[in-house]
Symmetry: C2
Subunit: 153 residues, 2 copies
């Protein structure tokens, strides 16, 4: 938590990062997340999920996306507290996430440029892949974050 | 909840939808969501947030995105249980969300085409804007969902 501050200049293109541990998806949390944020039949309980395109209980894509953020924060990217997310360039849910799945993230910094609007900031783009315990990709996304530049501090 | 089934053909380009009520963002839920999914200083408590780019407690962007999904499900779009989200084409966090903010959504179907891979399905693209109680846009996003085609049923 008390890691040294990191700046725009520390997030260089090609930098790779990974989560140190997987996060397990439980049926209970899949259902409670959905009850609050995405109360559709495929996410709220097993019996109503049977009638859906999925045919069984699956996590809300927004639950998976939120877990992906936790995996990024926990990773060795060192993003926590250094910047602010400004956009998702794209995000695709490639496979359903089921109860019992364990998710981990791998990512790469793919672009880094000075901010056009703030001389003291830079914009970093990174791409993530979220894998389940069978090493299948369940989600891919490209994040844009704004970070302070070292020169300005 | 027991609304009649809706199909791809029901989601026509130009169709507009809106949430029936706003969802209030509380400091308690902002902090507990962040503790689980996005434990960064700007989201987890007021005092650590003071040292960040934001200078005060703000909701995780993933909390706002999850609330946006709930607003879409509650809206008159009639999406619930009819399909599956496959991708976000883009998502931008345009303004911070603070404790006490009340969020609502407005959206428009912007594209509808048959699936290339499944003859019995179609892909619908809709764009949403999430507003706070001052009618400022805090988030914009473009969603892609897959829906069953009526002809196939």
């Amino acid at each position: 938590m008390a890691s040294p501050a990191r700046y725009f200049e520390d997030f260089t293109v090609g930098l790779r990062f990974a989560s140190p541990r997987a996060i397990a998806m439980t049926a209970e949390r899949i259902k409670s997340f959905a009850a609050e944020f995405d109360p559709q039949p495929s996410h709220v309980d097993e019996s109503s999920a049977r009638e859906t395109l999925f045919g069984e209980l699956v996590a809300s894509g927004w639950h998976t996306a939120a877990v992906a953020m936790r995996l990024i924060v926990d990773s060795d990217l060192g993003l926590s507290g250094q910047g602010a997310g400004v956009a998702i360039e794209s995000m695709r849910w490639l496979r359903p996430v089921h109860p019992g799945d364990a998710l981990r993230v791998e990512g790469t910094v793919v672009e880094a440029r000075p901010s056009r609007s703030h001389a003291d900031r830079g914009v970093v783009k990174f791409r993530i892949l979220v894998y389940n315990q069978r090493d299948e990709v369940v989600l891919e996304a490209t994040h844009l974050v704004v970070l302070r530049r070292r020169e300005s501090s």
